[in-house]
């Protein structure tokens, strides 16, 4: 489904700020996999996601989704395959546009944008239903500017936007890190619900070992721009937080 092969990326090559962010990271995901990714600060987790999403060109290696090589595609074209939620709740939605307009933007992700209405009546009903499922009261605020929402509400909305057209791959980069524990729990539960109900292949970065073990069927650890450990299924189920922390120390 997703295959990341020997991806390398050096930032600021040839300067004093040279930094090898990805040093041949390689891994594969099967259809329906939900993999959690852990690793220290600067180990290359976000850079891996950005490499998949095409935020910058990579130095070498390849990224394939569903057998198609997307390594050379610009970011906005890859978006057709991807749903993304960022760590910063402000990043995933347009603050000056309202809730329904944001959802409508996401709904048209894979379509040509022409001179038809940006939001149609028919869609509004659908969005209202979807928002109601979030249980945050957003269905009654569809014409409020997104900038007025709280971080948790915005993150829930971004999650909804990212999964509106079932993406081939969902990328979650510490998407609950900026939220208070209670809201983080809610958003995580919502994530799991959406991901399992729609069987979306998902890659979730987290610094929380509990969450890394609790969610998903696979776990991966990164260090120095490489995937250094992986566990799946039974093996993952047997892992304890202490085991993970120990590996972290190496």
């Amino acid at each position: 489904m997703l295959s990341v092969e020997e991806v390398r990326k050096t930032f600021n090559a040839g300067t004093v700020n040279e930094r090898i962010a990805l040093d041949g990271v390689t891994f594969r995901l099967e259809e329906g996999d939900f993999i959690t990714v852990v690793g220290g600060n600067g180990s290359g987790k976000s850079t891996t996601m950005n490499a998949i999403a095409g935020v910058f060109p990579i130095d070498s290696g390849s990224v394939r989704i569903d057998g198609r090589d997307i390594t050379a595609l610009p970011e906005y074209k890859r978006a057709a395959y991807l749903g993304r939620v960022f760590q910063d709740p402000m990043m995933g939605s347009a603050a000056r546009m309202n809730i329904e307009e944001n959802l409508a933007l996401a709904y048209r992700k894979c379509r040509r944008r022409g001179l038809g209405w940006g939001v149609t009546k028919k869609e509004r009903g659908k969005y209202r239903e979807l928002l109601a499922q979030l249980d945050l009261g957003l269905e009654d605020r569809m014409t409020s500017r997104v900038g007025l929402l709280s971080g948790g509400q915005r993150q829930a909305l971004t999650l909804l936007m990212a999964t509106l057209n079932k993406p081939a791959l969902l990328l979650l980069d510490e998407h609950t890190a900026a939220l208070d524990p209670k809201t983080a729990g809610k958003v995580l539960a919502l994530t799991e619900k959406i991901v399992t109900e729609n069987k979306i292949t998902t890659l979730m970065v987290t610094h929380n070992m509990h969450d890394a073990l609790r969610y998903g069927n696979r776990v991966m650890m990164m260090r120095d721009g490489r995937a250094v450990f992986e566990a799946a299924g039974e093996e993952k189920a047997r892992l304890k937080v202490a085991d993970m922390l120990e590996m972290f120390e190496i």
């Binding site: 999403a53 610009p74 970011e75 906005y76 074209k77 978006a79 057709a80 991807l82 993304r84 960022f86 402000m90 990043m91 995933g92 939605s93 347009a94 603050a95 000056r96 546009m97 307009e101 409508a104 933007l105 996401a106 048209r108 992700k109 894979c110 944008r113 022409g114 001179l115 038809g116 209405w117 940006g118 939001v119 936007m161």
Partner: protein
């Protein structure tokens, strides 16, 4: 007195088309686009040359619109394809336009439209015989401002218009939603400068000439009108905002007319406008500061 107000209102309505253009870059795309200083003259020059050559004034106004669009397109390409910062792209285009505008005017620094058929002489023929040129400008300006507002309102409600707004609002998000942000920025700049060009064409016909230096300070006048409109008339909805922009432009012109009447030398106008904009830009920050102090959030508060 009423004569002064009528003249100011007419000119304000013609400028409102430019104000909407400035709003599109400054507020929607979040770019301070200095191309405006050149594109308003490009529009004026294009319209003037056609009219001076005996062309149809409505076709000339359309040409002003298209010429303006071309200038925005160039700034957009400089910014997105050559990766030159937006502010600098605008400055480069503005400077280049100075030469181009003179070329459009066939090497002259100005073109006179004295006794030529303009949009206003055409409109005047439809009005009662008591009407004068200012009234024709008001009629034409109202019609034009209303049409531009309606078109802009419609366009930014479409899928494409929404995509441009998203690109201006949050580039990262827009790309992750599959929007080609480069194209959206180019389109937004072209549309903005098309309106500014059209405004230039209409203003030149009203003034009776196009002059290569008529654009100096126009971006600041545009910003002043945007800010005055927003503060005085509100921005609750997009429709309201567009209405505010038109009113802001008219109010600005009337204020300027009064300041002249009070005896300010014409050469101080630019200083006056720049100070107005600086003050208006600082105002929201000042009120925030005051609100904070009123809440007792100041550093000296003792519990």
């Amino acid at each position: 007195m009423t004569g002064i107000i009528l003249g100011a209102a007419g000119l304000g309505l013609l400028w409102s088309v430019m104000t909407i253009g400035v709003f599109l870059t400054y507020r929607v795309l979040d770019i301070a686009d200095l191309t405006a200083e050149g594109s308003i003259v490009t529009g004026a020059a294009a319209a003037a040359v056609i009219i001076a050559g005996g062309g149809n004034p409505f076709a000339a106004s359309l040409a002003a619109f298209l010429a303006g669009a071309a200038t925005g397109l160039i700034t957009g390409l400089l910014h997105t394809k050559l990766k030159i910062p937006a502010l600098l792209s605008g400055i480069l285009c503005m400077i280049a336009l100075y030469s181009i505008n003179i070329r459009i005017m066939k090497g002259a620094a100005n073109v006179s439209l004295l006794r030529k058929t303009t949009v206003y002489t055409e409109v005047l023929r439809l009005l009662p015989s008591a009407a004068n040129k200012d009234m024709a400008a008001i009629a034409a300006g109202l019609l034009c401002a209303a049409a531009v507002c309606a078109a802009v309102y419609w366009f930014f409600g479409t899928e494409l218009g929404s995509a441009i707004r998203a690109a201006g609002d949050n580039m990262k998000m827009a790309r992750s939603q599959g929007i080609n942000t480069d194209n959206m920025i180019i389109m937004g700049l072209a549309l903005s400068n098309a309106l500014i060009g059209l405004s230039g064409g209409l203003i030149a016909q009203y003034l009776g000439f196009a002059d290569v230096s008529m654009g100096i300070g126009s971006i600041v006048i545009g910003l002043a009108s945007v800010i005055i409109g927003e503060v005085l008339f509100g921005v609750k909805t997009f429709r309201r905002t567009l209405f505010s922009l038109v009113c802001g432009s008219v109010v600005y012109r009337i204020v300027i007319a009064f300041v002249y009447k009070l005896g300010m030398p014409a050469s101080d106008l630019k200083l006056f406008t720049a100070m107005t904009v600086a003050a208006a830009l600082y105002l929201p920050k000042l009120t925030k500061k005051w609100a904070k102090r009123a809440k007792g959030g100041g550093g000296n508060a003792v519990g």
